[in-house]
Every structure is written in C-alpha cells, then in structure tokens.
C-alpha cells in the first residue's frame, strides 16, 4: 500500500469519524480502507473511541454560576460589614443580643460571613467550631456565674 496515501488517510480519520471531513475525503478514506487492513483497523478504533466518548453526567452551569455569585457578594462586602457581621454572629451565638439584629447588621452581611466560611470551617478534632463556647464543659457553678453576668448585661442594655 502507498505509504503517502496511508499517511494522508490516517491524518483524516479523526475528521471522518467526527463527521467533519469533506465528501471527497470521506470517499478517499472509504476506498482506501477496502484495500488497507491497517488503516481499516485504525478507522474502526477511532470510530469505537468516538462512539464511546464520555459526557458529563450533570450540567454544572448552575453550580458554577452560583459559586461566582457567592464570590461576587463576598468580594463587594464593605469592610465594616465584615466586623459588624462577625460581632453580630458572635452575639447571636451566645445569646446576648438585646434587640432585633437587623438594625445592627443587614441580613446580607451575616449571610455573606456564613457563606465565606462554609467551605473552610475551622473545626476542632471533635467537630466543634473552633472558638465557639462549649456550655456542656462548664460546671453548674460556672454556668450560674455566666448567667448572672448575662442578666446584668441585658439589664444594662434595657
């Protein structure tokens, strides 16, 4: 078999199996493989690979856009939003807020902090959020002292 023709046919095989070759090229390849076992084998192999190519099991466009939106919200948050949201989140966590939080921190700010942290929560070995108070570890006496302090704080705010 003519080596030059084999070379040209093999170059064109991917386009033929993808349906992107011209009619003339398809005809040339079809005629060639009738007489060339090696090129016929290569054509079959390329057809098998093209036919079994993987497709993504789920459309990820929604997930990608959601992550982009989340990033955009976090990056456009003002600096005071970060600290105010952090203070509010801490206050909410230990229950010492004296009134509605929306006056102090907009919901979007709290949401942004939660979203910013959800991917990399700093957890301790037992799965407790680092820095969060662990009331179970307190003795009855310590708990009573803490409650007294909280009552005084809330009394002072009222």
């Amino acid at each position: 078999m003519n080596q030059t023709e084999c070379g040209a046919v093999r170059e064109s095989i991917p386009d033929v199996v993808a349906g992107e070759a011209s009619e003339a090229v398809v005809a040339l390849v079809q005629a060639h493989v009738l007489e060339c076992a090696e090129c016929a084998e290569e054509l079959e192999l390329a057809r098998a690979l093209h036919a079994s190519r993987a497709t993504i099991p789920v459309d990820v466009s929604g997930a990608v856009l959601a992550r982009l939106r989340r990033e955009a919200r976090v990056s456009t948050r003002p600096w005071w939003g970060v600290s105010a949201a952090a203070v509010a989140a801490l206050a909410l966590g230990i229950g010492i807020t004296g009134g509605p939080t929306s006056d102090v921190v907009p919901d979007a700010g709290v949401e942004a902090v939660a979203e910013a942290e959800e991917e990399e929560l700093w957890l301790s070995d037992d799965g407790v959020l680092a820095g969060a108070p662990v009331f179970e570890a307190l003795s009855d006496e310590a708990l009573a002292d803490l409650l007294d302090e909280l009552s005084m704080l809330q009394g002072g705010q009222a």
Partner: protein
C-alpha cells in the same frame, strides 16, 4: 420573537466571552454548557475518576471566569479552558496522591485480582475495550488521542493545550494510536 421567527445563529465563543466579561450570566452559562463535556473528558483523561473530574471541571470554569479579563483571545477559548482544566486535574491528582500516601500507611496496598480484570475486559464490547485500553497509555499520548478523536482539535491546538509543539502532539497521537492498536489485538 414571534413564533415564525427563526432563532439566530449561535453566538461564537468570542462573543460569549465578551459578554461574560461584563458579567452577563447567560453568556457564562452558555460557555459552560458548550464546553463542559470537553472539560469533563480532559479531566477524566487525567484523573481517571468521575467524581474528581466533576470537581475539576467546576473549579476550572471558575478560574477561567475569574481570569476572563486576562484572556486576550490569542488562543481559542476552548484551548485556553482546556489548559486550565489540565492544570486543575494535575493539581487534583497531586492532592489525591498525597492523601493516598498518608492513607497507605494505615491501610496498606490494595490487592488487585488480574483474573477478574481480564474476565471483565473480555465481556466488554469493542468501544468499552478501546476506552479501557486508553488508560494504559502515558498521559500525553492519552490526551493527544482523546483531544484529536473526541474533540476534533488540530495538532496545533493539542500542542498548546498539553504544553508541547505541534510536532510533538502529532508524534504523541500516532504513538498512542499505534500502541492502542497493539493492545486491542
């Protein structure tokens, strides 16, 4: 649009990129849907794991969109994206390797039953068998074959994507195909 009007031609990648730069989510979503299959195949070709490949695809699109302002359009968007996917996939492989190495200390090597594998291959149809054999190729050959046959990329584009010359991409492709034919016999 009235019901008799025909939809216009699909916008090109360049048009979608331009719209995406100004934050047009419809354009960005269209870019993802247009190229996610290719991105997935590249990621799968490198990581050989569907779940990891899916994560890689998402991360790669995010990286691409964040860097859209820096994309000058010298290469086609799909080639540029493919390069990002390739880098992400290799990064994921490195991470997985590090995790595996530390896990191996605890679990030890997993024994493979060659007999079972051989039997499984025997009952696969020709396409599945070819795909299975692809995994035997070195990464650059595997990617060159995949990108040429499955994506229809030119050798120049493949070279750009795998970080080699057009000639090297061609050599990798033909070596890969020859090796596959040998494995299939």
């Amino acid at each position: 649009m009235t019901r008799f009007e025909r939809a216009g031609p699909e916008p090109s990648d360049s048009e979608l990129v331009e719209r995406g730069r100004s934050g047009d989510e419809v354009a960005l979503g269209a870019l993802v849907r247009r190229h996610q299959d290719m991105a997935f195949r590249i990621a799968l070709s490198i990581t050989r794991n569907e779940d990891v490949a899916l994560d890689v695809v998402q991360d790669a699109f995010l990286k691409a969109f964040r860097a859209l302002d820096g994309f000058r359009g010298d290469a086609a968007f799909r080639t540029w994206l493919g390069t990002i996917v390739g880098n992400e996939a290799r990064g994921a492989l490195r991470k997985a390797k590090r995790r595996r190495e530390s896990a191996l200390d605890e679990v030890g090597p997993v024994a493979s039953d060659d007999k079972d594998v051989a039997q499984a291959i025997e009952i696969m149809d020709e396409s599945s068998r070819a795909r299975r054999m692809m995994q035997e190729l070195p990464e650059k050959q595997r990617l060159s074959v995949s990108l040429r046959i499955e994506e229809g990329l030119s050798f120049r584009e493949i070279g750009e994507l795998i970080g080699s010359s057009e000639g090297a991409a061609r050599v990798n492709y033909f070596h890969g195909i020859r090796r596959l034919r040998e494995l299939m016999r």
